[in-house]
């Protein structure tokens, strides 16, 4: 009910408002409250989305930038993408990158959450502070450090690996080959994402009560049985949400790839969906094609996250 106050001038006295049934009588108020949020969403997100959809069916290039009308071309932009092997390469790489990175992030995050739960106070605190530091690093700052760590000539990673017996990593160029390029990108993304996953899962683990674990012990459950049959089922809801968020984030990864390309090469073999769209859009000015590519990314994301949205909506209506 606090609502009404926010929009009512302070001069309004309580007597002007009947306290009972306010909810029903003031039918217009919730709509007024939603106006600013809806307006900004329409401008910042709704209109661009509609623009993408519309222009994915038009030939919108450099000439249209200078005022020429954009002709309608039906599904031409889509067919030119779908018949382009380069595009499928980008889609495939993005899906594999996303799957591998999200899976490893979840595995390490779960491992660290279990470690936090099992370790003594001092060790747990050390791990938590260190994860927090990594979590707080701004993406671009983290990227400069990682390019320095992986630097070909004087990077500390090449130095350390080279010291291992039988390994020759002297001046190894990580960013020259797509496979090692994406391995580096994946390591960086994992490093950045693990803290969130570890803290979320640890929060879930603290809800597993001691009694339940002791009961499992008394019943003769081994360590791995306890994990599989008692702990994991309890934290499964948290795990599924965290995994879903990771998948969405890793599918749209842009900053890390863009900045690694700055330091290495920006040939198409090093593109994921985000950088690819950026290139055909702002780079080659093929706005129609890039809009079509964006719509495809949108559909992939919605396909992945649809189930989650549906579940949340069901909970909300209860």
């Amino acid at each position: 009910m606090s609502v009404t106050i926010d929009r009512t001038p302070a001069t309004v006295t309580p007597t002007t408002v009947a306290p009972k049934n306010r909810r029903k009588r003031r039918g217009g108020i919730p709509y007024w409250l939603l106006v600013p949020a809806i307006a900004i969403l329409v401008i910042g997100t709704g209109y661009p989305t509609a623009w993408q959809l519309v222009n994915s069916f038009r030939d919108y290039g450099l000439a249209q930038q200078f005022g020429k009308p954009a002709p309608w071309v039906g599904f031409d932009n889509y067919t030119s993408l779908i018949t382009d092997t380069q595009f499928w390469g980008v889609v495939g790489r993005s899906l594999i990158f996303c799957a591998v990175t999200a899976a490893v992030t979840l595995a390490i995050g779960l491992g660290l959450a279990l470690l936090m739960a099992a370790a003594s106070r001092a060790a747990r605190l050390a791990l938590q502070i260190s994860l927090l530091l990594a979590w707080a690093m701004p993406v671009v700052a983290a990227m400069t450090v990682w390019t320095w760590l992986f630097d070909r000539r004087r990077g500390v990673i090449n130095y350390t690996l080279d010291k291992l017996p039988g390994v020759d990593m002297y001046r190894y160029d990580w960013l020259a080959e797509p496979l090692s390029f994406f391995a580096v990108a994946s390591i960086i993304v994992i490093w950045m994402s693990v803290p969130f996953v570890a803290f979320s899962l640890y929060a879930g683990l603290t809800q597993v009560s001691e009694e339940v674990l002791e009961a499992a012990d008394l019943d003769g459950a081994s360590g791995s049985q306890r994990l599989r049959l008692v702990i994991l089922p309890i934290i499964r809801p948290v795990m599924s949400i965290v995994l879903l968020l990771q998948i969405i984030w890793d599918l749209r990864v842009f900053t890390q790839i863009k900045i690694l390309q700055d330091a290495g090469s920006n040939a198409t073999e090093f593109d994921l969906l985000g950088t690819y769209i950026y290139k055909i859009g702002t780079g080659s000015q093929h706005f129609g094609v890039s809009a079509a590519a964006s719509v495809i990314v949108l559909l992939i994301t919605l396909a992945v996250s649809g189930a989650y949205v549906w579940r949340v909506m069901k909970e909300d209506s209860q």
């Binding site: 606090s2 009512t8 709509y31 927090l132 320095w148 004087r154 700055d262 909300d316």
Partner: protein, 279 residues
């Protein structure tokens, strides 16, 4: 007993090993920022910054571009925090205190918008902002940022608003407080943690954002801090990089935000959790 002690020691050392791995890049950034380029050029790394200096920081700050970018970032963050929290608060009140036609559609829209990848929209956003001549301005970027932040802040705040019972305020009014007094004395303080949490979220998003800034801020003198910092890596591809200076620049961008994050972290997570649970 002995076996158990051994196990505990193993778990603890494993935790320490992972702590070291995760903190190392942060440490390395700060370490390198104090070292002269001459020292960093050696193949053998210098693990501790003995004999270091603040010279890299002086060099990075010398041309004033850092402060320009800092000003830009602060201006954008201030605008985004203010409007995002205000708009989200009003919307959160509407959906958690009222049942009305269209409520479910709004909640669905808020959820769906969070799924939209920013990377799929920036072309259209670029076209839109440039058509109204707002490229390279605080307002142009802020509009996009506010729209990007509002859905999640609505989601977070609605848990907080729902957590403050309306009866509480009405009881205060029965006790003779005016409507506005009842709101500001009773409800508002209870909402404070939620407002702070969403302000912090909006601030961090606006402060660290890179993609939209890259697209909408094309001129050097309208760069935000992430764009300013990126300039250093870009230069590294074309000429011999002065890693000491790059790391000093990174440290300047990262350390204040790390400190800020460490201070507000507890509040943030509490906010996220109650937003998710109380909803």
């Amino acid at each position: 007993m002995n076996r158990r002690g051994l196990r505990k020691a193993g778990v603890n050392s494993l935790a320490i090993v992972f702590a070291l791995i995760w903190v190392f890049p942060v440490y390395w950034m700060i370490n390198s920022s104090f070292l002269a380029n001459r020292t960093l050029q050696r193949f053998t790394p210098t693990w501790v910054p003995f004999g270091g200096s603040f010279r890299n920081f002086q060099a990075v700050l010398a041309d004033g571009s850092f402060f320009k970018a800092l000003g830009m970032s602060l201006a954008i963050a201030a605008v985004v925090v203010f409007f995002a929290v205000l708009f989200a608060f009003l919307a959160a009140v509407a959906i958690s205190r009222f049942r009305f036609r269209g409520r479910a559609s709004f909640v669905l829209a808020v959820l769906l918008i969070q799924m939209l990848p920013a990377e799929a929209l920036f072309i259209a956003q670029y076209k839109m902002i440039s058509s109204v001549n707002l490229l390279n301005t605080v307002i142009g970027v802020s509009v996009i940022y506010i729209a990007a932040v509002v859905p999640f802040t609505v989601w977070m705040l609605r848990g907080f608003v729902a957590g403050v019972p309306a009866d509480l305020e009405e009881a205060a009014m029965v006790d003779g407080l005016s409507r506005s007094k009842a709101f500001f004395k009773i409800t508002f303080p209870l909402l404070m943690p939620g407002l702070v949490a969403s302000a912090v979220y909006a601030f961090l998003q606006a402060w660290n954002e890179f993609t939209v800034a890259l697209v909408l801020l094309t001129k050097d003198d309208s760069a935000t801090l992430p764009l300013w910092l990126r300039g250093f890596i870009q230069a590294s591809a074309t000429r011999e990089t002065d890693w000491g200076q790059v790391m000093a620049a990174s440290t300047l961008v990262a350390v204040p935000i790390i400190i800020f994050f460490m201070i507000v972290q507890g509040r943030m997570t509490a906010g996220l959790v109650s937003g998710a649970v109380k909803g």
